[in-house]
Amino acid sequence: METLVQTDQARPVFGNGLKANKLKATKFGGKLVSEYWESVFRAKEEGKKVVWYNGTYIPPFFHSHDLVWVHGEAWSAMLAARHKEIGAQGRSDQRGYDRELCSYARTHIGQMLIELDKVKSGHHAMAADDPRVETMLKLPAPDMIVNAYPYCSSGQQWDDITYRTFGKKIPMFTIQIPLLWGGRPDAGYMQGEEWEERSRYVAEQLFALTKFLEENTGRKYDYDRLGETMSFVKKAAELRLEAMDMCTVHPSPASFFDWIVSIAPVNFLPGDQNLVTYFEGVKAEIAERVKTGEGAVPKERHRLFFDGMMNWNKVGWLADKFAQVDACVVAGRYTHMSFWQEPQLIDLKDPILGMAQNYLICPNNHGAPIMIGEIEKVCDKFDIDGVVCHASRTCRGMTNAQFQIAGSAKKYGRQAMFFEGDVADESFYKDELLNVRLEAMVEAMDAKKRAA
């Protein structure tokens, strides 16, 4: 296969030493992400108002109102993915934040403090080689803060800290996205009284968000524009799901890690033609691979499901790690159960209710019984042999229920394993433990297949 590359000599040799066969089409996403951050950095020069937000994928509301938005989690993930998070985390340590605290929040708050330091002391107070200079030169301060964090209480409190750090002077709006606990007899995935009530509840708040944006910009909200933005988002989401569905074949033409790098477009990039173009490219490449039988992993023998938040410091590293034991991570909770997962709910003439519903079905916003039922459906669909749970040390939002997820996997005849790491703090990642456990899991899957 043309894509096989020798193992980088700097990395310890593991397994067969092969590398993951990444999709090429995702490179366009890298360009879009860079352009997006550039536009964020230019915001003040261009006289645009800036919203800082955390939580679910609400940027279409900002985009349709000509605002610039900074997604705190995306910022932390981006810093971690580019290995630039250390300065920010150091600054938050200095302020007294414990390293066991959500590292997304710590990284974001640390960067915010660096920004404020700069305001107080001027850029020149920092040495030219200070890593903070490079990573944090131009992040514009917020004119508004919006929080729309499902499930995890830390998500709401993180923005409360942002609000306090800026002296309680920035207008802030919080959208409550209630948990779908599933306690009523008629409860199920997208069904029952609870689902109907919560959908309306969130939709009303989204409508109130548009009023908040009007008040703080002095401009009328253009709902037609929202429909137009959502037409691109909806199309992109459909293409993404169609492309994902093509990965039921063996070998899988794309892996979880390709979908991970494809999150930015559906999560926070501007809703325009670029999104559609991106997923058209991804889908076309996948279709081509299906035709030629080319897999995301050079020699796929086993198919895995990834549970948990991504370890953003290790995306490429982990993609190769699984490839090296001939295991393709085909699907994941984070990628396959979220991000405009149900685009058919969005009525472009009146998109708010459908948007609210998509926000509600964030992968961990269901009580465990319903969520685990949905995970099993994904595992069946993609013919999964084993479940890998990333026990992300500082993200309890995603580690909740992982023991039950692993238990359910075993009940349905799949292998299950855990590995330690974190969303944005590399120091929690334990490579050798992952190696040992992964090898053991692969052996078990081999033995099972031999026996069959």
Partner: protein, 419 residues
């Protein structure tokens, strides 16, 4: 006049692990006070045992409730016993395969108690959640005990939004209906009004005891104060009220005495009790705990439920009032600051310093601690952070840190003589 340091005197006359030998009281009173507190402490130490005995005696239902926002009065109005589940002392065993080791001790203890069969006497488990770790624990319990009715009412954590009060009301309605179903009864507004009145009366007595401690009028130890509040969390309200009535009458007779002990405020631990041994150790360093904002202290007793008007609406109001009164870092409220509350408390209670008790891995506390720290520095308030763990602490090592704090306070001349 400043009093000489007397480091040889045991903290509040405390015997390690025992009850206070109240050095201010007359002999007769001492016995009666101790007797009452010991009986409440025994319940606080074994709440599940108390609940079993209550159930045998009354044939009533026992509803486990989780801290800290659940209105226990609704359970009482259903004729059942609300049992606020405490962290227990047992080592975590089966619980290790239900929650990771990077969860706080309280949540790990909860799932361990569920997995080791300790919730057998419960007829239901109800909660209004307060943090993401608790949600994880409850889902684990749902899987572990599939036959136990488990009901969650998630109140919005953001207190300022117009969408919050209607949601709280709606969730309360859900709780009401579910409790009626589990308890096989109808909850009447009259029964709820009576339950609210009983709780308020008990809270008022506990507040009175806290006031007396703040004023230096009584010298109950931290362990004893904790027993009074913890027992309130698990006992039948009438029974607890009777004990408190007798206790308050005895305590009212006590006189304030001058003390040169360092006066500290204990802060933090907002959903479960710090270990009493830790409180003993702190007091053994020449410290009097004059005030706190602990869940098993001021936070639990500070806020009454309004008794006029619609009792359901009163329960909803209580959720907001509590955070106005003693802000909690599990909630996000623009108009309330824990740090400002703490600064004001310290001005009021004349504490010489603060010990912050943070349960290891407590996410909301970790997020807000730097706000407290900023306030301590801005106001020159001596403080010490102690991270607590389910497995306990190396007390001797922690003691050197407490002693250093106390020494610093004494040398700075910050101590205030009280009378």
């Amino acid at each position: 006049m400043r009093w000489q340091t007397d480091m040889n005197r045991p903290a509040n006359g405390l015997k390690q692990g025992g009850i206070n030998r109240n050095w201010r009281s007359g002999v007769g009173k001492l016995t009666d006070i101790d007797k009452i507190i010991s009986s409440l402490a025994a319940v606080a130490e074994d709440p599940l045992g108390y609940a079993r005995a209550w159930k045998d005696r009354t044939q009533g239902k026992v509803i486990g409730i989780l801290p800290m926002n659940f209105p226990a009065e609704l359970v009482r109005a259903a004729g059942a016993l609300p049992l606020l589940i405490q962290e227990d002392d047992a080592a975590i065993t089966y619980g290790r395969s239900l929650l990771f080791e990077f969860y706080c001790g309280y949540t790990r203890s909860l799932v361990d108690q569920a997995a080791t069969g300790k919730f057998g006497g419960l007829d239901g488990l109800f909660l209004v959640d307060h943090c993401v770790a608790l949600l994880g624990a409850v889902d684990a319990i749902r899987f572990e005990l599939p036959d136990l009715p488990v009901y969650l009412a998630q109140y919005p954590a953001s207190m300022d939004e117009p969408a919050t009060p209607p949601m709280v009301r709606e969730r309360l309605g859900g709780l009401w209906r579910k409790l009626e179903q589990v308890c096989e009864t109808t909850i009447t507004p009259e029964a709820l009004r009576a339950a609210i009145a009983a709780s308020n009366a008990n809270r008022a007595m506990l507040r009175r005891i806290h006031d007396m401690r703040r004023a230096g009028q009584i010298a109950l130890s931290g362990r004893q104060m904790q027993a009074l509040v913890k027992s309130a969390m698990v006992m039948d309200a009438a029974e607890h009220g009777k004990a408190l009535t007798a206790l308050v009458a005895l305590l009212e007779g006590q006189q304030a005495e001058p003390s040169n002990r360092v006066r500290l405020h204990l802060s933090g631990h907002f959903c479960h009790a710090p270990k009493p041994e830790l409180l003993d150790m702190i007091e053994s360093c020449g410290v009097t705990i004059v005030d706190d904002d602990l869940f098993t202290g001021t936070r639990f007793v500070a806020t009454d439920i309004p008794e006029d008007g619609d009792p359901a609406e009163a329960l909803a109001r209580w959720y907001f009032d509590r955070n106005d009164n003693v802000p909690c870092s599990t909630r996000a409220q623009k108009s309330a600051d824990w740090e400002s509350y703490l600064a004001a408390s310290i001005r009021r209670n004349g504490a010489d310093g603060v010990i912050v008790l943070v349960a290891k891995f407590c996410e909301p506390h970790m997020l807000y601690y730097p706000e407290l720290r900023k306030m301590f520095h801005a106001n020159g308030i001596p403080h010490l952070l102690i991270e607590t763990e389910h497995e306990g602490l190396p007390l001797e090592m922690v003691k050197t840190r407490v002693e250093a704090l106390i020494e610093g306070i004494r040398q700075s001349g910050r101590t205030r003589e009280t009378a």
